[in-house]
Symmetry: C2
Subunit: 232 residues, 2 copies
């Protein structure tokens, strides 16, 4: 199952990416893994895709005023990710950290494809983002994410439901249709981009245990914080 441990990105750090639908459990697992790696004395950098200060205001205002087309929507998210990548992900990767990413460029690929952007156009835009050492994809049925969403009593977001796309006037129905599109796109990428697929319906502990086992070959011999300090 594990690929070659030598990274294709050429940086001294390692890049572990968590992808999947909202409600797939990937954020929980990413946070648990980050803490475990820290407890093992590795130098860990954990990052989530929250909009950067640079463009979050524009995206919010653009959405509110309905000013965004699929092209501008896609490009704004690319600015957002490029900013996050260059200022947040790249420095620790260069400095030899284990970088744990809750969402990476693949989130943009599935979202933009679901909105009708040309996938090869989108991929070219994100060509500045190197291939991670691992891409964990949390596979989950859309109905399970909906159940989790409703149980958590958090409101379904307008854009998360793809309501701007006119798939259905009903929020819940639109959510299922739009998330199903995202899922289909994730499944396509899982094959083309060699995702490490995680069955997200299993117990939290079992999944976490699998993640750790999967990363073992990449971690063997990788310097811990103490050793790095000593060497420096």
């Amino acid at each position: 199952m594990p690929e070659s441990p030598s990274p294709t990105h050429g940086f001294p750090g390692r890049l572990f990416v968590f992808e999947g639908l909202d409600g797939s459990g990937k954020s929980t697992q990413a946070a648990l893994l980050g803490k475990w790696l820290q407890s093992r004395d590795y130098r860990v950098f954990f990052t989530e895709w929250n909009s950067s200060d640079l463009v979050s205001g524009v995206i919010r205002r653009g959405k509110k005023k309905g000013l965004l087309t699929p092209t501008t929507f896609s490009l704004l998210h690319a600015v957002d990710f490029a900013d996050r990548f260059e200022r947040t992900i790249l420095p620790p990767l260069r400095a030899g950290y284990l970088v744990v990413c809750d969402r990476y460029a693949y989130t943009a690929f599935v979202r933009d494809a679901a909105r009708g952007c040309d996938p090869s156009w989108v991929r070219t835009i994100y060509s500045f983002a190197p291939r991670p050492d691992r891409i964990f994809y949390f596979r989950v049925p859309v109905q399970v994410t909906l159940k989790r969403k409703l149980a958590s009593r958090s409101k379904i977001n307008y854009y998360e439901a793809g309501m701007d796309m006119g798939l259905s006037d009903d929020l819940q129905e639109s959510y299922v249709r739009f998330q199903s599109r995202l899922r289909a796109e994730y499944e396509r990428l899982a094959a083309s981009d060699r995702f490490t697929v995680i069955d997200s319906t299993r117990p939290v502990e079992a999944i976490q245990s699998d993640l750790r086992a999967n990363l073992k070959p990449l971690l063997d011999g990788f310097p811990t914080g103490a050793r790095l300090l000593h060497d420096g």
Copy 2:
């Protein structure tokens, strides 16, 4: 000299683009041409590349705080142009107008290339923008634009001088170097993209007269506003 009058973009309108360095006289000529076309009863839409409301604030703040890398700078300008293209240029082009554009995607190509972005990456991003019916390129020596700039007593802008690129500590020297880079890139595109090259050191009236003559084959038989109204 004139190319085929049938547009490659497939829209009923026509797209005339004016490109060149600041101080090349292109804006003056574009405005004169627009007025002349209107006086001939054509339906004309004139547009300049001023930052759209959507991202101008972000670009300004990003510049001020030095937050922009070449990648995010380039992507933000792409959002800006995509927004302008889809909401301002495309509708009149679809409606059969003569669209006169002071700056188009080529401005982004030269600027991004001068800042070190991969030219083919940049071109792919802008692949949503169709080839215009005419691309008038106002060729001018950089020293002439500098003289015009100094004579107008308008201050040389920090970014216009490429001061963020560390070419020189001296504003004027940096301006010459950066604008020379832009010019070299324009010259490269003039050949690859079949620009209609205008010698910008000639008198205003002579240039305008040439532009009108150059466009004649594209205008012959093109419906005027009155005729369109009658037909509709």
